[in-house]
């Protein structure tokens, strides 16, 4: 696993030169802006009546316009949107090597394939974490701009911890997506898997088994469900299995693309 630093540098160059960081940042920044809009709606019943449906929806998820509700919305949106967006990032970072047919140039080098896979995961994790930080900071700005009532330092601390942990859980779950991008040779198979796990996460959570399904767990955590250790272990094991599967695929499978 030598030369990892250089492999990370190469992955960073590829990510920087693409339009993906900008597109994902633009997509994700809609979350705090949307949340801010809900806050405005909640603060002004007159406007709420005029927009009708949205106001009803906002009442269900947040209730009142204050910092705890807004930070809770951000954390939930990050956890659920993250499954999709972080999955999209992993699909791109791994799948593009197959779509652009560049993977063959990474397979017979003095830098090991494991180092390259590891570097890709570093980039996916850093990229996803940076998006989380960005929406959190934008969220603080939007919350201030819509003049939410002042809250205690404890409220902000708790909100920060919740977002950080849920982002960590969601990021750990991108590794199986990377496996499907590699074994499926492109973007589409992993995107299909992302859609499938998002759907299953909803259905399984509604059925009451969410604490055992990896992709339901970040959302349940944010919603304050009392998750047992087993849930965290399931997320960690899923992440490790995805990492090991992806590395083994790159190292051992026949590479014909």
């Amino acid at each position: 696993m030598s030369n990892i630093a250089q492999a990370v540098w190469v992955e960073l160059l590829k990510a920087r030169r693409s339009k993906m960081p900008l597109l994902t940042a633009l997509g994700f920044s809609l979350l705090p802006l949307g949340g801010g809009f809900f806050m405005i709606v909640l603060k002004d019943p007159e406007l709420a009546r005029r927009v009708g449906l949205i106001s009803a929806k906002a009442q269900i998820t947040m209730g009142v316009a204050d910092w705890p509700a807004y930070l809770g919305f951000l954390a939930l949106a990050n956890a659920m949107g993250g499954v999709m967006l972080f999955g999209l990032i992993a699909s791109w970072v791994f799948g593009r090597e197959y779509s652009d047919r560049t993977v063959k140039d990474l397979l017979a080098l003095p830098t090991s394939r494991s180092a390259i896979v590891f570097a890709k995961f570093v980039i996916v994790a850093v990229w996803s974490a940076a998006l989380t930080v960005a929406i959190y900071l934008i969220g603080l700005g939007v919350g201030t701009a819509v003049a939410l009532p002042p809250a205690s330092a404890e409220t902000f601390w708790q909100g920060t911890i919740t977002i950080a942990i849920s982002a960590g859980l969601t990021i750990a779950l991108v590794t199986p997506i990377a496996f499907f991008a590699s074994a499926g040779h492109g973007y589409l198979p992993p995107m299909g898997v992302v859609v499938l796990v998002m759907f299953l996460a909803q259905v399984i959570a509604m059925a009451g088994w969410g604490e055992y399904f990896p992709w339901s767990i970040p959302g349940l955590y944010v919603q304050g469900e009392n998750l047992g250790t087993v849930s965290y272990v399931i997320v960690i094991l899923t992440g490790v299995a995805g990492l090991a599967g992806t590395i083994l695929w790159w190292e051992l499978a026949d590479q014909t693309h």
Partner: protein
Amino acid sequence: MNVAIETNNLVKRYGDVTAVDDLSLRVARGEIYAFLGLNGAGKTTTIRLLLGMVRPTSGEARVLGTRIRVGDKKPWDSVGYLVETADAYPELTVRENLEAMRRLRPGTGSKAIERVIERLGLIAYADRRAGTLSHGNAQRLGLAKALLHNPELLLLDEPALGLDPAGIVEIRNLLIELARDQGVTVFMSSHILGEVSRLAKRIGIIHRGRLLQELDVDELERNRRGRLVLRTRDNQAARSVLLNAGFSAGITADGTIEVKDNAAIERPDDIATRLVHAGHAPTMLHVEQEDLEHYFLRLVGMDGGNAK
């Protein structure tokens, strides 16, 4: 140790399809070895086997003395390669693509990039995004990536693909120079015998996964068949004269007489004399050597039984 590539009974099967069948070959160091075959003959699979990208079903391959195992890091610091099409990251410039490759090949100095850019004639395109390059220049970039770290061995899959005639000559000369001046071993695949016969020392012909023949370029000349082609004002009558004289003369689709007997090919003047005496003086007569394309198709049994 003078062998750069050695394979012993190498077999690769994908389900029922045998892509490479019992392939045993040796490539000496410093040699340019051409691996010739039609599309789907097993050339690319062989190169992927040599590069440890696919696992052999049975048999083994050794490259620069190292037994190849899928996923190993050795001996790739001494090997440059181009497999199938030359692809690059489209949003990165030519220079950035090379920089990315340089970083993944520790020990390659930053000057190497400018050196290969110049060597492959990419100076004018160095800051162009790879996605905007023509086929020919994308191929040059692929070759530049293979040459970046001054490898001892080059494994090149169809190196002339997409190049214009001037580019083909340029790359051919570059490969000849590398082998002659730096002792670089070149193992290249191609489906055009005429192209490889100008630079390779040895040629291996693969068909349906099997190595049909290995020969030196000199042998190639000897193995090609010749024929005598001639025309008279009455070809049918002239043919009868030759048949009566014991030659196996035939009439080709374009109406000329062709004679494949060695006696005729070696002494065409005797044929001319005989025809003149019979009152059918040739209006055209020449000895042709089987062209490389036909020779190749004859070897792989795809000449439709009409070998010239």
